[in-house]
């Protein structure tokens, strides 16, 4: 069975291998989009709306067009087609038409011979807007009489979701303790280090467009370029150079990419668009500000009886991934614990702010945070150990959740054991000095959406392998390596299946002219889906090689295998054949070999029949448990994270080195959201739009992270593997808040837990304690 982990027979070192493109990156050889050869390219710049909401009365570009050195100017007039990642919710134009809906929305763009000319041209564009009332928060957008951002969305509700599974009322009735919490999580941004950039070239002779961009989803970008430019798909080529981080920032076609292509076509040449950090922040598409009202029922011994959850997301001005995000937020209440009844009401609200989108842990993070925080508070109230409460509510795999999500492997119990022991929880919790505390929480995430957004009937993933006369194996994949290491994963999967050292495999990725289509780097789908497709392709190739080698060695193919790059009998030591010779033999009469491997999620894995039931469905969930240790300074409100212990069930670690990197990265990103990351708009102006004001933690703020890998060997995963890049994120913030509660007995209801919010909570606690200690008569 191809799913069996390779175990000790693995030709790659047990500790894992460095990423195959790592040396290129650390030596500076790697070329990112802005580094690509762009001599002679025009400079693209975008004019952005200064107002939050308004009707465009006049947009006059004549003076800009006339400026010497300006080669092309485009506006909303040049594209009458909407774009968007969800076929049901494409309501955005690459350049505004008719209305502007957030401050910073692209309105026009120029291509000029240099940056100064482009800047001068922008200043010459005349824009007249009749301002409309703008709604910068969900309460104002939902208030009666609010001006609608989109005529077809009454109440500015992009999507309302109402799901009930089981009998919540009955569940709460059997509970010994029912508690509620209102938790507010600030909007955050991916803050990937590479700012957005795109290089587009249009050849008027062949009427072809070549697009190189920072995309995580070249296929979706390809689709939207064809749609917005009204070009035949076959005339477009999309290439993904090295990408400096994605985290969801680039999982849909972005306005500046389409605008760059529009400019290139209008200029009949090459245009380089490099966004500033501010513009990169404005492009946004990240985790929305989210208000969660959550209610849980618990028996005296910690058994969950019911969950009720209302989520309001401030989605920004356009649809983007919004419908998926609000569905995920409810769907992933399931799948971590065994809960008999769950009611979910979700509201995605349009507001006059940059559109939100997908971000690492898409949809799950803020609701998971609220859930875990409340569970921790209730455990304290009942005098129960938080680990015991989790253990009381474990699932047993294989199972299906109330909302029809398949859970095929489940290593959460092991994760709990590992971090409980490693952190010394039992001996230390409750015995730390004042101001120091320990907290824990759990989380999970999908290994790829079992039903892709653009359902076409094609397999979920395709990998091609080319074997040539020189004995080299080239793996061709559309999967976008954005730093997460997916190309290395493909190389390992092929090498291990073939039984050759990884050095024999070359990976070519992310070029629509040569690599098979791939849906891209999102929902942690690549290892599971592309990994399985790579294994499938390698098995097919291996079969051909074994047949050829058997012929050459006069052996029965049944008895042959390839180990360490040598074909030989599995029964006795016989003569062997080198891989290169086997390859030559296989090419006789055939020539260069190309084989294809695929992976398809079976329909039964694609979720329930209820509306939106496909969201959250996956072939396998990763599971994580973590413990966070903090010190809190009562005089300044500053939280210092002293240490983190995290165990993640990733099914099987194909490359342990990369798995650890991804776990640490998730924890670290969760820490940023928990402690300091936060977008801030002043009347709709992005005041946070620099790496100075948008605080991502630095190395000084980063604690030691001890990561433990738990391997539950998923029955369907490649070698038993599941996702590893997102599952650990959502657990950090609630573990931190629990640790602060342990340290100082304060309940924090807001993220991030910045020093000022901690101080406010401390002041509130002191006031509460004063009232408690006052004799009853004095209280009035």
């Amino acid at each position: 069975m191809h799913n069996a982990p390779p175990g000790r027979r693995r030709p790659t070192p047990a500790a894992g291998v460095p990423l195959i493109d790592g040396i290129d990156k650390v030596t500076g050889r790697a070329r990112y989009t802005a580094d690509l050869e762009h001599r002679g390219a025009l400079v693209g710049r975008i004019l952005r709306s200064p107002v939050g909401h308004g009707e465009i009365l006049r947009l006059d570009v004549t003076r800009a067009r006339r400026l010497e050195g300006v080669v092309a100017v485009v506006t909303g007039e040049d594209c009458r087609h909407t774009y968007g990642v969800l076929p049901v919710a494409m309501n955005e134009y690459p350049l505004a038409r008719g209305k502007v809906r957030y401050r910073g929305e692209p309105v026009a763009a120029v291509a000029a011979i240099d940056a100064e000319t482009a800047a001068r041209a922008l200043a010459l564009i005349e824009l007249e807007v009749r301002e409309l009332p703008a709604h910068y928060d969900t309460a104002s957008a939902r208030a009666p009489g609010a001006v609608l951002l989109h005529e077809d969305r009454p109440g500015n509700i992009e999507r309302a979701v109402h799901h009930v599974f089981g009998d919540p009322a009955a569940g709460f009735a059997t509970a010994d303790l029912v508690r509620e919490a209102c938790i507010d999580c600030a909007e955050v941004n991916h803050a990937q280090i590479e700012p957005h950039a795109a290089l587009a070239e249009y050849d008027p002779q062949t009427a072809r467009l070549t697009m190189q961009s920072v995309s995580q989803v070249t296929f979706y970008l390809h689709l939207m370029l064809a749609r917005c430019l009204q070009m035949e798909e076959s005339r477009i080529r999309v290439i993904k150079p090295f990408v400096g981080g994605g985290f969801g920032a680039r999982v849909e076609a972005l306005n500046f990419e389409i605008v760059t292509a529009m400019l290139a076509r209008a200029a009949e040449g090459r245009v380089l668009m490099e966004l500033t950090r501010e513009e990169t922040f404005i492009t946004h598409r990240a985790r929305p500000q989210t208000s969660v009202r959550i209610k849980l029922g618990l028996t005296r011994d910690g058994r969950l009886t019911a969950c009720e959850c209302e989520v309001v997301q401030r989605g920004g001005a356009y649809a983007g991934y919004g419908i998926i995000t609000i569905l995920y937020a409810g769907a992933l209440l399931h799948g971590l614990y065994d809960i008999p009844a769950v009611k979910y009401d979700g509201y995605r609200v349009y507001t006059n702010l940059p559109p939100c989108g997908a971000m690492r842990g898409h949809g799950s993070v803020d609701t998971r945070h609220a859930f875990e925080v409340l569970l921790d508070r209730m455990a304290r109230e009942l005098g129960l150990d938080p680990f015991a409460v989790r253990r009381r509510n474990l699932l047993v795999a294989p199972t299906r959740t109330l909302n029809e999500l398949a859970v095929n492997s489940y290593g959460l119990a092991d994760c709990l054991d590992r971090v409980e022991e490693a952190s010394g929880w039992r001996g230390r919790r409750g015995h730390l000095p004042r101001g120091k505390g320990l907290g824990m929480a759990c989380s999970h995430y999908v290994s790829g959406a079992a039903k892709p957004i653009h359902w076409t009937g094609e397999p979920h993933a395709v990998v091609n392998l080319k074997l040539d006369w020189d004995g080299s194996v080239t793996a061709l994949t559309g999967a976008a390596d954005i730093g997460q290491g997916s190309s290395t994963m493909v190389a390992i999967a092929v090498a291990e299946t073939l039984g050759v050292p990884i050095e024999r495999i070359r990976v070519v990725a992310g070029d629509s002219a040569t690599t098979p289509k791939d849906n891209g780097a999102y929902s942690s789908r690549i290892t599971f889906m592309v990994g399985n497709a790579a294994i499938d392709a390698a098995r097919r190739l291996k079969k051909l090689l074994i047949a050829a080698a058997a012929h050459k060695l006069g052996e029965d193919p049944e008895n042959l295998d390839c180990l360490g790059g040598l074909f030989g009998s599995t029964r006795a030591t016989q003569t062997t054949l080198s891989f290169a010779d086997a390859a030559k033999a296989a090419l006789v009469n055939e020539g260069t070999l190309t084989v294809k491997g695929t992976f398809t999620c079976p329909p039964e894995a694609q979720g329930g029949k209820h509306k939106g039931g496909a969201v959250g469905s996956t072939m396998g969930f990763s599971y994580g448990a973590q413990v966070v240790e903090v010190s809190v300074d009562e005089a300044t409100g500053r939280i210092v994270v002293e240490r983190v212990w995290i165990a993640l069930d990733c099914g099987f670690a194909i490359n342990p080195l990369a798995v650890r990197g991804q776990i640490e990265g998730s924890v670290w990103m969760g820490m940023g959201q928990a402690l300091m990351e936060e977008t801030r708009y002043l009347d709709g102006m992005p005041a946070h739009a620099s790496l100075l004001e948008y605080h991502v933690p630095t190395s000084v703020d980063s604690p030691p992270i001890e990561a433990y890998i738990v391997e539950s060997i998923d029955p369907n995963g490649p070698f038993g593997a599941k996702e590893t890049s997102e599952g650990a994120l959502a657990g950090f913030a609630p573990a931190l808040i629990a640790a602060v509660a342990d340290a100082l007995d304060v309940d924090l209801d807001q993220l991030p837990a910045t020093p000022d919010r901690v101080m406010d909570a401390l002041v509130a606690r002191r006031r509460r304690q004063r009232l408690q200690h006052q004799p009853a008569g004095d209280a009035k």
Binding site: P50, T276, T636, R638, A687, L692, T698
Partner: protein
């Protein structure tokens, strides 16, 4: 990409007099030291001088000289050097602590003491791109008519956010100035005015050449609060210098940055002299600080927090310096 820099010429004089002469030339000139404040502001279009006068060619600016009477630090000495110089560290712990707290190592390798003292004041409505400021309405500090922080008033409240100034003020340092009218000396505390638009009491061509600190040993320290522990300006920064005689305070200077348009010496601390550092005294300092700081909504962090934390830091520093003084008496 980042926004293009406005065009300018760069001069690189070798002597102080030549620098001052260039600084006084008509047409608008700016001194350029490490550039870590100035270049960011140029890119954001906050100013557009025709000439930048690079001070890197003036050799004596890079000197540190220690005598029995004083420490003399050239205005071009980098913060990285201040942070590691053994004599500075031993004599003036507050200055070293302040230098280490600035920005991040890459900045400190370039940034100078002179540039730090003369850095522009900061405001969340001001330190933004040109697009941003225009879209939001140009404010007083950028030449507009209104202040977004205090719309009813007519002054700018942008906060001085340099870390070194409070340390130097607490340590009673003096700045040496070379200007068109010749040389003069000004106490660091007197370099500043409470006006976010014009916080420096210096003419455009005035050049800080060196800083002098008295050598007699005092206990000193600097503490700063910020959202993250590197790469972040102070929400509030407090320097304390003190001396004790038989366990009682004989000298106390407390200076604060990040809360007002100028770094300032906390007033009325004389009442605390002659007393031991105890809870009551700390409480009094806390009150003095809370009364004298004037944080406004110039940062994304609420002003009220900056007030409370300034006092908390002052209290903590006085407690720890006072305690170590007591320990050395015993």
């Amino acid at each position: 990409m980042t926004a293009p820099l406005p065009p300018f010429r760069v001069l690189r004089p070798q002597a102080i007099e030549a620098a001052v002469a260039a600084g006084a030339a008509p047409g608008g000139a700016r001194y350029l030291a490490g550039g870590t404040d100035l270049l960011v502001n140029l890119r954001r279009g906050l100013l557009a001088p025709a000439v930048l006068i690079d001070l890197g060619g003036i050799a004596e600016f890079a000197d540190i000289r220690c005598t029995d009477q004083r420490t003399r630090i050239g205005s071009g000495v980098t913060l990285a050097r201040l942070a590691t110089d053994p004599a500075v560290g031993a004599r003036h712990p507050a200055l070293r602590a302040a230098a280490v707290a600035v920005a991040a190592p890459g900045h400190r390798n370039l940034a100078t003491i002179g540039g730090n003292l003369c850095a522009d004041t900061r405001c969340i409505y001001y330190n933004q791109s040109e697009w941003w400021r225009r879209a939001n309405g140009i404010c007083l500090k950028s030449g507009g008519e209104i202040c977004h922080v205090a719309p009813e008033g007519k002054r700018c409240h942008a906060a001085f956010s340099g870390d070194l100034a409070p340390a130097l003020i607490a340590l009673d340092a003096v700045a040496e100035i070379a200007g068109p009218g010749g040389r003069r000396r000004i106490a660091c505390a007197d370099l500043y005015a409470e006006d976010g638009r014009a916080h420096l009491q210096l003419g455009g061509a005035d050049l800080i050449t060196a800083i002098e600190l008295p050598a007699e040993p005092v206990r000193s320290g600097y503490l700063k609060e910020r959202v993250r522990q590197a790469f972040d300006f102070p929400l509030a920064g407090v320097a304390v210098a003190l001396a004790t005689e038989t366990g009682r305070l004989s000298m106390l200077r407390v200076a604060i940055t990040g809360t007002n348009s100028r770094p300032f010496l906390v007033e009325n601390t004389a009442a605390l002299l002659g007393r031991a550092v105890d809870e009551e005294l700390l409480g009094q300092l806390d009150k003095l600080v809370q009364k004298q700081v004037r944080p406004m909504r110039t940062t994304l962090t609420p002003a009220g927090y900056r007030r409370i934390v300034a006092a908390a830091l002052a209290r903590r520093l006085l407690a720890s310096l006072g305690a170590s003084a007591a320990a050395s008496v015993a």
